[in-house]
């Protein structure tokens, strides 16, 4: 099967420092793909390049075989490439339902509609409510986002992305800062997503990664080190060295 | 909503008051600029008005004078002035509108006077065309052409052949520039350069450098009374134009008593034309300046105070003539041709234009008893505004 998301020699330099150099990554349709590596390996930079948050210094990003390198972030979202953020990026003063409806409206192309109130766009609101239901957020639908516990907020972070009906979902450390019990639940939720959503995941918790991912790419110092199935990665000597090195440093 | 309650109370109180007072007071609505950059204008005019009332009592033709004062700061916003005038007419029921420091204010209010049929006494704004904007306008200040023309004539007669003009870029400035060019050219002089400068924040150095490089006999300057005059004189001195043999000739706005102390000694010897000087020698003026010094020891009387004083004088005299009626048509009719002796000298109201006719003096800055004064040494009597001919 053709890769749904692909990069060719993607490079990003900040001054003389290459945060991401010559990365050629391929993510298959329907994959559960994880991106791991020690701190500063360039994982988040890569996500930022994929989504258009940063412009690459060189190289290309292809979505479903078409280049999207020159497209803006929102245009890539429209084509099904959606992300979450490592640090929550939410709408603090909106209720949960309002936030998610906002995202749904945007996907339905209602973002420019200015006549009917949001509440009258029944389809959008219903869809948002449904999504909240699947994420078990329905009971806090009318709470303001900023009043919620961190674990719930982390779910909203994902809900906002799911509302865009992603074909490729980039999750940047979804469980960061979430207590262990809740993070397992969170991953179960992610795991229940249908197979037509391709997932590329950055995660530090190796237990979660090895339970979830079917394929793993390891990055070090801005470049790809290796890519394989989890079992192979677990036994890869170079990967062990990298992580051992980090452990010693820390 | 405490505010609304207060407003309502005030409204009721006003109504009750209106009903109780049988002997109708004479309400004069004053639109003055009392804050912002032109705050000094409103202050001076108000001083003049109050001095007149203090001197002559606050009852005119049997009616007690009530002043209703509105601040139309910044003074250049016609919409504000107009609204205040409208309120004075509609809400405060004033009989007469007076004040108007700057041209936009007078222009904006003129239609109100016409529509409401209220006499409108212009006590400062000096663009020539103002009195043509309503038949009920009478002016007791001056017009720029009126002040400028005698100076141009004097200059041409006194060996000044080539002049560079600098005026502030607004109505009065255009009036002054136009009149000076016209009169000076007719008298055989030559204008070697002209520039219009912004009304706000002028920095004169570059303009004065240009003047210096052009080497005229004199530079003619008009700027609105206040900071611009100070800045000009500083620049003039610093650039050494006097040493280069260039004289300053100006309308008296440059050297008005309110600011002449800020200019300091560099003003000495400057020639100007104007209608009022604190140093004018007459019994009326002596009384006026003495009363002023007593009432407002921190300030010095200037032409605006005189215009306010004369404006009240006009109102008083007209009402004596009309038997206390402030009806706009009667007022304007009675004001036409009225003559009296003002602190500035003899003045009258032109029956044709309702504008002021007055003596224009040529003066020179001299130190008199420790104070810088504009000492008059030549004059042109009963001079009409040439801007309307």
């Amino acid at each position: 099967m053709a890769p749904v998301l692909q990069t060719r020699n993607l490079t990003k330099r900040f001054g003389g420092f290459a945060a991401c150099s010559d990365v050629s990554l391929s993510v298959e349709q329907g994959a559960r793909h994880a991106l791991i590596g020690p701190n500063g390996a360039g994982k988040t930079t890569l996500i930022n390049l994929l989504t258009g948050f940063l412009e690459p210094s060189a190289g290309e990003v292809l979505l479903k075989g078409e280049t999207v390198t020159r497209l803006g972030q929102h245009q890539r979202v429209k084509r099904g490439l959606v992300r979450t953020f490592q640090i929550n990026q939410l709408f603090a003063e909106m209720t949960v339902l309002e936030s998610v409806t906002l995202s749904v409206c945007e996907r339905l192309g209602l973002g420019w509609s200015w006549w009917k109130p949001v509440g009258s766009h029944g389809a959008a609101v219903d869809e948002a409510a449904e999504l909240l239901d699947t994420l078990r957020l329905l009971d806090v639908a009318h709470e303001k986002t900023r009043n919620l516990a961190y674990g719930k907020q982390r779910l909203i972070e994902i809900a906002l992305a799911l509302a865009s009906k992603p074909q490729v979902l980039l999750l940047d450390e979804p469980a960061a800062g979430v207590p262990t019990g809740e993070s397992r639940e969170l991953f179960e939720t992610i795991g229940r997503l249908p197979r037509d959503v391709t997932i590329l995941l950055i995660e530090h918790d190796m237990n979660l990664v090895f339970r979830f991912a079917e394929r793993i790419t390891v990055m070090v110092g801005g470049a790809m080190l290796t890519e394989d199935v989890p079992e192979a990665i677990a036994n890869d000597r170079r990967v062990k060295e990298v992580y051992l090195g980090e452990a010693l440093d820390g | 909503m405490g505010l609304i309650k207060n407003l309502m109370l005030a409204a009721f109180a006003a109504l009750a008051l209106g009903a109780a007072q049988a002997a109708e007071p004479l309400k004069i609505g004053l639109v003055l600029t009392l804050s912002g950059p032109f705050a000094a204008y409103g202050k001076q005019v108000e001083h003049g008005i109050r001095l007149f009332l203090a001197k002559n009592g606050d009852t005119i033709a049997g009616r007690k004078v009530e002043l209703v004062i509105k601040d139309d700061a910044p003074g250049t916003a016609g919409d504000v002035s107009k609204r205040l005038a409208q309120e004075l007419v509609v809400k405060d029921n004033v009989d007469i509108l007076a004040g108007f420091m700057l041209t936009p204010s007078a222009f904006a209010v003129a239609p109100v006077a016409t529509e409401a049929k209220k006499p409108m006494i212009v006590m400062n704004a000096a663009t020539s065309a103002i009195t043509t904007k309503s038949n009920y306008i009478v002016r007791t200040s001056m017009t720029l052409p009126q002040i400028t023309a005698p100076l141009a004539t004097w200059a041409a007669k006194n060996g000044i052949k080539r002049v560079y003009t600098i005026v502030a870029d607004y109505g009065p400035g255009h009036d002054a520039e136009g009149q000076f060019k016209k009169t000076f050219a007719a008298a055989g002089g030559e204008i070697v350069g002209e520039v219009r400068i912004p009304v706000a924040r002028p920095d004169f150095a570059p303009y004065l450098q240009k003047v210096k490089d052009t080497k005229p006999d004199a530079v003619f300057i008009f700027v609105p009374a206040g900071e611009a005059g100070v800045a000009f004189m500083k620049g003039f001195q610093e650039k050494g134009l006097a040493q280069a043999g260039i004289k300053v000739i100006a309308t008296g706005d440059l050297l008005d008593e309110d600011i002449i102390d800020s200019i300091g000694d560099s003003a000495l010897g400057v020639i100007s034309s104007f209608h009022y000087s604190e140093a004018h020698k007459s019994a009326e003026n002596q009384a006026f300046t003495a009363a002023y010094a007593k009432a407002y020891p921190k300030d010095r009387p200037n032409f605006m105070a005189a215009a306010g004083f004369d404006g009240m004088h006009l109102i008083a005299e007209v009402l004596k003539k009309t038997g206390g009626s402030a009806d706009a048509d009667k007022f304007a009719e009675a004001a036409k041709g009225m003559k009296w002796e003002s602190p500035r000298g003899p003045i009258s109201i032109d029956p044709a234009t309702r504008d002021i006719i007055q003596t224009v003096y040529i003066r020179k800055v001299t130190r008199v008893g420790g104070k810088l004064q504009n000492v008059e040494f030549d004059h042109l009597d009963n001079f009409k505004d040439p801007g309307k001919q």
Binding site: - | D71, G78, F107
Partner: protein, 329 residues
């Protein structure tokens, strides 16, 4: 589709007219009968309220800081004034003309303004408005410069109502235009478009990630805000039949900012209430002591920023909670 058991009414009700709003809009009608002699002031309150509303759209909802909003107000004012001066004195035509011009100017300048940080925006809006001010100042033949544009003669409204000295026509005209524009704005901010603006203000980083063309939305709202300001400017010209250069001044922009903050940004009623309170206070205080009312205005502003950043609307919104607390004690 599985039926979801959730009460959606809070979201749907948000857009319904509340009793308090109806009462609010009855106030100006009552004011007409209560203060028949203050209609000139009341009309200018209505006009300034519309102007404040326009800034609220761009600052309160979309978070674009502007120190030069008077530029559009001024453009509208001059457009209406010049149209009337040269024979097209019909008020509604003037209003339309001003709206078109200001909207176009807003659209063009939005591309300059929407670059850079808050500080850059502050400076660019200021710079653009100062340029327009200077241009109007210099084009004396066209605008009358500092002396103001005279000879603005308005035809009767709808061929029927002349602009009278008492300001009755002016008041109803300003009030109705304000209400219609408010109603439009109200729809706008409650629509998905309006929500996306709130989203941009609350988290500009997230918006592109949910598929929002942020720049386009900002251009749109800036353009609309400019159009609103233009209409307000035109109303001022038509009801006073005069345009002074001051309509474009920096102080007008700054004062507007104060009004909006006083009322509370990001709620349409904040703009209206802020204007009413500000102008009434200005009128009242400057009546008592014309020279120094500015001092209290400044003091009020400092206190608001330090202690009541959400303005009068914020205070009103907190009232129920405060009352409940009191009852609880």
């Amino acid at each position: 589709m599985a039926k979801i058991s959730i009460d959606l009414s809070p979201l749907q009700k948000a857009s319904a007219w509340k009793p308090a709003e109806v009462v609010f809009w009855l106030l100006p009608v009552i004011a007409f009968f209560l203060f028949p002699k203050s209609l000139a002031l009341l009309s200018q309150i209505a006009i300034t309220a519309l102007f404040a509303l326009s800034l609220d759209l761009i600052l309160g909802y979309a978070g674009i800081i502007s120190l030069g909003h008077a530029a559009f107000f001024g453009l509208g004012a001059y457009a209406a004034g010049l149209l009337a001066k040269y024979g097209w004195g019909d008020p509604l035509l003037g209003l339309a003309g001003a709206a078109v011009l200001a909207t176009a100017a807003g659209f063009i300048s939005s591309f300059l303004v929407l670059r850079g940080s808050d500080l850059t925006r502050l400076m660019v809006t200021l710079g653009v408005s100062m340029m327009l001010y200077e241009a109007a100042n210099k084009a004396t033949d066209f605008t009358g410069g500092v002396d103001g544009l005279q000879g603005v003669e308005m035809k009767p409204l709808l061929g029927e109502f002349t602009f009278d000295l008492y300001g009755k026509t002016a008041y109803w005209y300003s009030l109705i235009v304000l209400f219609l524009m408010f109603w439009l704005a109200r729809r706008l901010v409650q629509s998905p478009f309006g929500h996306s603006l709130r989203g941009i203000k609350q988290n500009v980083k997230r918006m592109p990630a949910i598929g929002t063309p942020v720049h386009g939305r900002l251009v749109a709202v800036y353009t609309i805000g400019a159009g609103y300001a233009g209409v307000a400017g035109a109303l001022l010209t038509q009801t006073t039949q005069f345009v002074s250069l001051d309509v474009m001044s920096f102080s007008r922009s700054a004062e507007l900012l104060l009004i909006l903050v006083l009322g509370g940004t990001g709620s349409l009623y904040g703009a209206l209430i802020g204007t009413a309170v500000f102008m009434a206070a200005q009128h009242y205080l400057s009546g008592i002591n014309p020279q120094y009312w500015q001092f209290w205005l400044g003091a009020a502003l400092v206190l608001i920023v330090l202690f009541a950043r959400d303005g009068i609307m914020g205070f009103l919104n907190r009232l129920p909670a405060l009352a409940a607390k009191k009852r609880g004690d």
